[in-house]
């Protein structure tokens, strides 16, 4: 092979190796190729281990190969210092750092022009140490691999088996390989770092999502517990009045039937909201003293004022139920009147939530037919008359009609209320 052909062969080899993206594989290929094509006592690669801040042998081939994972060179090692110290010592700067050959080191040591400058002692000492390291590693040539100014590794090559010095072509080929390998290592590390960062981010996101789910579950549980507490409060309100206890479910049923008659949309959560409002509309009465709540006589103005607070108290109790914000809103307005003369806010007509308008009718009916501490229950027909008489003023007329129609067509035993009031 002519020198030119040899050089071309080396160049082609370098080109094909550059395409290898995995740095470990590339380093192995480089070592194997040099060992085979150039014929050396050994070809080895020192690589920088980021985690441990040291240079270790990652591959070595040939008769005098260096056992990998046995030897490390730390940053204070003369060879590493030689290649990584840049511009610190003016004396060394004048000497080539592209690569080191055994011959060159020996020549420097014999050259009085190099040895006899201002840094002679230190420089000489360093070059002597270099000679020692190269001898230990049986290195004829050391070629550094840089990325920017960072020393990523060193190609350590033994003597040619056939003897003789390295040609300039071979040396420049080694340099090309060392630099390509450095580039590949750096790129791979960069990608690894990116991957690791992505992985970390992904992990963090998963943890965050789990945490959010936990919080959501806790919140749901809290809400359920709270709902149960409120429900038991509502039951207590009903229970205080012995005549109405047990009617909570009837009220809810009548309300839903009325809504259905009205063609009110009960899909999704809407039915739950309506039922909850029907159950809970009087929960605010829990704060009203019994002597007011169960007073047989007419209430005084002061007592009446307290009594009229129950819708807003109820809404306040229900406020923490974020899933049922609307329930609180409905409860607040179940004593509004269609003509705007109700309480607490004097809303009128369509301003009043439809569920509240339904509750107003069902609640009034319930009050009329039930025997209360202050009067006996009256018949369903009387109740209907009263609802009709107040339709358009106190009640929404459409709701009144729907309620009466629903009640009449229901399978509910209409004598139930009658028997109730007959019994007392």
């Amino acid at each position: 092979m002519t020198s030119f052909e040899y050089q071309e062969a080396l160049k082609n080899a370098a080109k094909s190796m550059v395409r290898v993206k995995n740095p470990r594989r590339l380093l192995k290929m480089i070592v194997r190729f040099i060992n085979r094509e150039v014929g050396l006592s050994h070809a080895s690669i020192l690589m920088y281990d980021q985690d441990k801040s040291q240079y270790i042998f990652v591959d070595s081939r040939g008769r005098h190969r260096i056992p990998i994972k046995l030897v490390k060179l730390d940053e204070r090692n003369p060879l590493i210092r030689w290649f990584s110290e840049k511009g610190n010592h003016t004396g060394k700067d004048r000497l080539s750092k592209d690569y080191l050959t055994h011959e060159q080191v020996n020549l420097w040591l014999k050259n009085p022009a190099i040895m006899n400058n201002g840094h002679a002692d230190e420089l000489k000492e360093h070059i002597l140490q270099l000679q020692d390291v190269m001898l230990t590693l049986k290195a004829a040539v050391c070629v550094p691999g840089y990325y920017k100014k960072e020393l990523l590794g060193v190609l350590i090559l033994g003597e040619k088996i056939a003897g003789g010095a390295f040609t300039p072509e071979e040396l420049s080929f080694f340099q090309t390989l060392a630099n390509d390998a450095s580039m590949t290592i750096k790129n791979a590390r960069y990608q690894e770092d990116l991957l690791a960062k992505n992985l970390l981010l992904e992990k963090k996101r998963t943890i965050l999502q789990e945490r959010l789910r936990e919080i959501e579950q806790m919140r749901k549980k809290e809400q359920e517990t709270y709902y149960q507490i409120v429900m038991s409060l509502a039951r207590e309100v009903y229970a205080k009045d012995p005549y109405t206890s047990g009617h909570m479910e009837d009220v809810a049923r009548l309300g839903v039937m009325t809504a259905e008659k009205l063609g009110f949309d009960l899909t999704g959560k809407k039915k739950d909201i309506l039922v909850a409002a029907l159950h809970l509309h009087d929960v605010g009465k829990i704060g009203i003293p019994d002597h007011v709540l169960m007073k047989p006589e007419r209430l005084t103005d002061e007592e009446w004022k307290i009594m009229k607070e129950h819708p807003s108290r109820g809404a306040m109790i229900l406020e923490p139920l974020t899933d049922f914000k609307r329930v609180a809103h409905i409860v607040r307005h179940h004593h509004e009147r269609f003509d705007g003369k109700g309480y607490p806010d004097g809303l009128k007509g369509e301003e009043i939530p439809i569920e509240a308008r339904i509750i107003a009718v069902v609640d009034a009916f319930h009050a009329i037919v039930s025997t209360r501490c202050y009067r006996r229950g009256r018949s369903v027909l009387i109740a209907f008359d009263e609802l009709r008489a107040n339709a358009g003023t106190q009640f929404d007329a459409e709701v009144v009609n729907a309620f009466i129609a629903a009640y009449q067509s229901s399978s509910m035993d209409q004598t139930e209320y009658k028997s109730h009031h007959d019994a007392h």
């Binding site: 260096i66 046995l70 490390k72 230990t136």
Partner: protein
């Protein structure tokens, strides 16, 4: 300056052997625990470099036997194992140092030289 190198990897033995021979040590190597114990009796080294993970008699057992028979013989553990337990166990059994691979040759040589100097000084005194 007699040094015995014990490692089941021939390559490591050869590399360290030539390293120390170039520095004027008299070196023998052994690639098993049994071989090592025999070499200790016959070669009578000043210092032993001892690997731990070996088939058959392992380094810790070799250390125990050496220290039982030749308490003054310096033993430096040279191993890739670096668990705290292993290190403590070896030091308790009398190991004179514990060096993990990959190692710095400079440090290793300094340590070997120190140990040999200590032994030769005390025996001449």
């Amino acid at each position: 300056m007699k040094l015995l190198i014990v490692d089941d990897e021939v390559e490591i033995c050869d590399f360290l052997k030539s390293f120390f021979e170039e520095r004027n040590y008299e070196v023998r190597s052994a690639t098993s625990g049994e071989e090592a114990l025999k070499a200790v009796e016959q070669f009578k080294p000043h210092v032993v470099l001892l690997d731990i993970k070996m088939p058959g008699v392992n380094g810790v057992q070799v250390l125990q036997e050496i220290k039982a028979k030749f308490p003054k013989l310096k033993v430096i553990m040279v191993t890739a194992l670096e668990t705290r337990d292993k290190i403590e166990e070896c030091l308790r059994l009398g190991a004179d140092n514990y060096i993990t691979k990959p190692l710095s040759l400079e440090y290793l040589e300094n340590d070997v030289r120190e140990k040999i100097e200590a032994v030769t000084n005390s025996s001449s005194a």
